[in-house]
Symmetry: C2
Subunit: 205 residues, 2 copies
């Protein structure tokens, strides 16, 4: 049986971009089954008294982050552009992702939405952009966008965000193993996969 | 000629502990000459409106950090104890380190002070503890503690902290290469060493 890992992310989260791009190959190599769990950081930041990204509130940290992300993307050989505005409203992308994750194309959509925003400088709060990303996956965008606006999906995204808050998540990307171990940040992805694999080894004894 | 890297840290900084412990072997392996640069995070945090560590201000982030540090130390096979109180006053340790870095025992003292605090649960604001750490390096503590209280050393620590602020440092550990590239966090140490090595290769062409 594969080990399991939950991958929590917000589409506006900068370091979730390299994590999403790296996920498929690393998870396959580690034989870990990863569940993509989009949520909204906004309510969590608000609970900490932040009205925007901490990278905007603390300009020196923000300046560093953009340079660091640029270097990371160069090392990964993936395109990078600083999104404008930042942070983008990630609500629509998160709802569409939830619709897609019920079907086979959800993970591909997530990676495509991250690349569109942080690689190609496109706006993920624009329904035309999101529709285009869906169409490139050879899926008809109209029923998906309709589903993304349904009460059922809205409710699921709220529940997902509530669960993130209950888990004590304070940033993204975050990774949670089946035995409840939390890892935060793109640079903890390898450690999270190792932990997931280790707990599988333990549980099979 | 060896490449150069500045290692900026505050003795109260949690993730500076694994960075300090790992430094010697990694720097030697990369053939990078590392300069230890203790400074005080307090004035920098204060400029951001923080009166204590952000790990105290944001309890969920703090809870995560302690667990993360515990895991990191277990992976490195170094002892870990959560210091009480946290953060500790790092002024005395920083002044003694500056005195020691003029001589041959400064780096060994820095590693010993981190281990004492985060490995053995000792208080680094206690002159008796700091004196003991100096004595274990086979150095007479009294003249060192006297030098650490001199105006010259006080002034140098202030200048060091001013320079950190001018460089835009916002946390520790931070690593700055000779060509001005900034890397933040224990998990960027390897990348900083790679960058330092790369710029050396470039400059010799």
């Amino acid at each position: 049986m594969s080990a399991a890992l939950d991958f929590w992310f917000d589409f506006a989260s900068t370091y979730s971009y390299p994590a999403a791009v790296r996920m498929a190959a690393l998870a396959a190599h580690a034989d870990v089954r990863v569940r993509f769990r989009p949520f909204l950081l906004g309510p969590i930041f608000k609970a900490q008294g932040w009205t925007t990204s901490p990278f905007n509130l603390y300009p020196e940290k923000g300046r560093y982050m953009w340079r660091d992300l640029e270097r990371l993307c160069a090392d990964l050989d993936v395109p990078f552009q600083r999104p404008d505005p930042f942070p983008q409203n990630s609500l629509l992308a998160a709802r569409v992702a939830l619709a897609g994750l019920d079907q086979s194309w959800g993970e591909a959509f997530c990676v495509a939405a991250f690349r569109a925003q942080f690689g190609d400088g496109r706006r993920i709060d624009d329904a035309a952009v999101i529709g285009d990303l869906i169409a490139r996956l050879r899926i008809d965008p109209q029923p998906v966008l309709a589903a993304a606006g349904s009460d059922a999906i809205k409710q699921r995204l709220r529940a997902q965000t509530d669960e993130a808050q209950r888990l004590g998540l304070f940033g993204a990307p975050s990774f949670v193993t089946a035995d409840g171990e939390l890892f935060w940040g793109n640079d903890r992805l390898e450690a999270a996969l190792r932990w997931a694999t280790r707990s599988r080894a333990g549980s099979s004894q």
